[in-house]
């Protein structure tokens, strides 16, 4: 192999790895705060990517109608669970979040959509749509069972994945979509050519990691999320609403997923079910990080990306097999190193 090919593969691997890192971080975040293993993370990727792609062609994506429908269900759930102690402020807050926000979003999409809408507006709309879906997904599927075991939450998570993937087929069809690049700029360094797109991937990944670090280390909300992750009862005893923490975690995860999707859809064609496989690779990184360590997850994600790039060059038929085999030695090592821990009840 010559150096040029190796550099190309490395570059390719790092670009993909950066995406996996974003997804892995989101998985760790959601698991730490809510104990949910977020299988539908991949759907956030597809929904973000394909909503953006459809908006770019001037069509209204079905996801925005899904957001409105989910908002209605979330509103009904809010009313049902608060039926014994309904007061005006609570209802108003619920109306604003679950009805006004998605309906306004729907109106905004219809008002702005068109073949000449600027890229930035399309991206913002796609992000808002997926953010709403992520928020309502937690309210509908996970908040009512937040106190149950990790296994129950995992099964609910698989259910959400299947439902969202099926809906994805309805919204986007079986054909793949591709979107215009964020920028056509390119930089050449030696044999390597860095497109504006891949630079955006690096920049956003680093930006997100720094942003998350600042958020968790220095803001009250970030610290409250960490506190919820460390000790749920302790958090409730100081007045932190663990349901709110869960919603924020899902909101962040869905936005991160959608951004990842928007970053890759100009590079590769995405189908309604592509997100799952991408999400799974973020999941491998998160598992290598033990579902707790953010830095380890980020490093593992880069390794996953590089291994994937090299194996698709040398043994493309076995690409996925090789990548997913990475998880085996880690699981064996972890199960040997860590004693069996009983699941914390709360």
């Amino acid at each position: 192999m010559n150096t040029t090919i190796m550099l190309f593969l490395l570059q390719d691997g790092i670009t993909n790895g950066a995406i996996y890192a974003l997804l892995g971080l989101a998985l760790v975040l959601v698991f730490a705060v809510t104990r949910v293993i977020l299988i539908p993370q991949g759907e956030f990727v597809t929904y973000g990517a394909l909503s953006y792609a459809m908006l770019a062609t001037g069509q209204v994506p079905g996801t925005v109608r899904l957001a409105v429908a989910m908002g209605l269900v979330a509103f009904a759930l809010d009313l049902f669970f608060a039926r014994k102690a309904l007061h005006v402020r609570l209802v108003m807050r619920s109306v604003a979040l679950n009805i006004v926000f998605p309906v306004a979003l729907l109106g905004l999409v219809y008002a702005l959509v068109g073949p000449n809408t600027p890229i930035a507006v399309n991206i913002a709309l796609a992000l808002l749509i997926v953010a709403a879906i992520g928020l309502f997904l937690y309210r509908i599927a996970f908040q009512p069972i937040a106190h149950t075991s990790v296994l129950v939450l995992l099964i609910a998570s698989v259910g959400c994945h299947l439902a969202l993937q099926g809906l994805g087929l309805v919204f986007f069809g079986a054909e793949g979509l591709r979107a215009p690049a964020l920028s056509s700029a390119a930089v050449t360094a030696g044999p390597l050519r860095f497109t504006g797109q891949s630079l955006a991937v690096y920049g956003l990944t680093i930006g997100f990691i720094v942003g998350l670090w600042l958020f968790f280390g220095y803001t009250k909300t970030g610290k409250a999320l960490r506190a919820t992750a460390v000790n749920r009862l302790g958090a409730r005893l100081v007045g932190i609403r663990t349901t709110l923490s869960g919603q924020i975690a899902f909101l962040l995860a869905s936005v991160i997923g959608a951004i990842s999707g928007i970053l890759i859809v100009p590079i590769t064609t995405l189908y309604y079910d592509t997100g799952f496989l991408i999400g799974l690779k973020g999941f491998i990184a998160a598992i290598i990080g033990g579902l707790v360590s953010y830095p380890l997850t980020a490093v593992a994600a880069i390794v996953v990306g590089i291994v994937e790039a090299f194996s698709s060059f040398y043994a493309s038929n076995f690409k996925e097999v090789i990548v997913f085999t990475l998880i085996l030695p880690v699981l064996v090592l972890r199960s040997l190193a860590a004693p069996q821990v009983e699941e914390e009840k709360d």
Partner: protein, 243 residues
């Protein structure tokens, strides 16, 4: 004097087993009330249920507000605070972060004065403010748990076994501070197995046995009661050793 906390005919069950049966108690403003009793009498269960951690049957009002529809977070906002038996600190966060989160529901300016007050009460915490909570000694963790609860400016602090597993000298320190809280306008509901120390600082006491209150009254009377002395204070009638 109207009661700050009033608990009337409360039953608490784990499945079909009733751990607390028909208990009533009240705590007034600026009062220190203690519940003493043997291990398993239902003291911790009662405190947890008042806080909303466990469901109860019966009536609880705090500061004139019916507690039944409120969950834990809302009860905190009304000025009720629990320092639980296992302290429930944020172990991987430092002392100052733990304290700041204690003021999660409080305006930032008020929280700053609370922090000064807590550091005055517990100078040890100030020395260790950048240390992770999980690496503190048992006594320091108890101080941090109490400090965190005080950061929320509670009207009533419920302490569950603050002396459990601590060295005698630290226990004395903690009881001294509990006594000082009254002058800061904080009422205390104290659950203790260390009955002697608890009765010394309390105004009133309830004695709990097998999920029921068997005795109540001013702390000095309870301390003088022969049955209590024999069961909980380690005094002997016939010269035989308890231990």
């Amino acid at each position: 004097m109207s009661a700050l906390l009033s608990v009337a005919d409360v039953h608490i069950a784990y499945g079909k087993v009733e751990a607390v049966r028909g208990v009533s108690l009240d705590v007034a403003d600026n009062e220190i009330v203690t519940i003493i009793g043997a291990n398993g009498a239902g003291k911790t269960t009662l405190l947890n249920a008042i806080m909303g951690v466990l469901p109860l049957r019966g009536r609880t009002t705090f500061a004139g507000v019916d507690m039944a529809p409120l969950d834990i977070e809302d009860r905190v906002a009304t000025g009720l605070s629990l320092v639980p038996e296992h302290r429930e600190l944020f172990g991987t966060m430092n002392v100052e972060d733990n304290l700041e989160l204690g003021a999660f529901r409080i305006a930032k300016a008020v929280a700053a004065t609370s922090l000064e007050r807590v550091y005055t009460l517990f100078p040890r915490l100030k020395e260790r403010r950048k240390q992770l909570a999980g690496t503190l000694s048992g006594g320091e963790q108890q101080m941090l748990a109490m400090g965190r609860a005080l950061m929320g400016a509670p009207k009533l602090l419920m302490l569950d076994e603050p002396s459990l597993g601590l060295a005698p000298i630290i226990v004395a320190d903690i009881f001294r501070i509990v006594g000082e809280l009254r002058s800061a306008g904080v009422s205390v509901l104290l659950v203790e197995q260390n009955a002697q120390a608890a009765l010394q600082i309390a105004d009133r006491a309830y004695v709990m046995e097998l999920g029921e209150f068997v005795l109540s009254g001013p702390a000095s009377e309870i301390a003088a009661n022969e049955g209590v002395a024999a069961s909980y204070l380690g005094f002997q009638h016939e010269g035989e050793s308890v231990i």
